[in-house]
Amino acid sequence: MPKGEITIDERFCKGCSLCSHFCARGCITIPGDRFTPQGYLLPLFSSPEKCNACGICGWLCPHFAIEVYKLTEKEPAAT
């Protein structure tokens, strides 16, 4: 199971590609054929399985387009 998950809000992304540069695990790539509504190159969270929720892309995305979440086992329902 992947440990982390990120969301990229394409309304805010400005295609700077810093997320992809900073993700040491290579989770984020820039396909080159996907654009934001503002016309910027949109990155893709392409390898979720490698993500360890380190948070770095969420810190360093300058345009507040990324949220990083840590995924944990769902607690067994208390029923």
Partner: protein
Amino acid sequence: MSRQDVEDRTWVSGTPRLWVRHPAGCRQCPGCHHPIIERLIADVVGDLGVEDDTVFITGVGCSTRAFAVMDFDGISTAHGRAPDVGTAIKRTLHGRPVVITIQGDGDCIAIGAGSLLAAVGRAERITVFMANNGNFGTTGGQMAPTTLTGQVTTTTPGGRDNSTGFPMHVPELLATLKGCAYSARGSVHTAANYQRTKKLMKTAVQKQIDDTGFSFVEILSACPPDWRLTPVESLKWIEEHMIPEFPLGEFKNIESIQ
């Protein structure tokens, strides 16, 4: 949505708690570091739990845009005068508010040098954060006092030469003044530096809270379009050109003046 955790997700990083999201998004250029610095300010204020007391002041420059999005009281000022404005807010309210300015290097140490120096001289209990991107970003990339020797800008088309002076080392300069309790330089061009800089900024605000004296942090900051570099190339420029001239770290950190 972003902050509401579903049962099996815990939020790690992204939009700070003290942030008012504007539908038009960030107004800075792709890859600009200003918003990263603003994120740090929002985080530091949040972490120190002083948002109820904080007044955030912007100079004139690309950081001006920040003041609309920080979720604490804010005010924008004339070019270079944030330290005067901060002084008055702090003193008129008899020392209660936590006063933080964010200024560009041009704003802070070109037109604003007189205002800044006087505030340090008086040991004002305010914190100044200066984004050093080595140029005047807003107006299209002219030389700033921090421009590197040899650096090409629109007003140093042949590269900055000595006739325009030498890169100004602001935290080092302020450290020599008695009124300065804390001065440091950080960067946000790597994840490790991002975390280190956060600590520097936190210490600076803490100095103010502790009533020690004036505190200052310079943060190296990329300006890709005016540097004529891509955002990723800009990181390399910071590493290879700026840091050798502008060493990172603390230059002054005292417990009390005198």
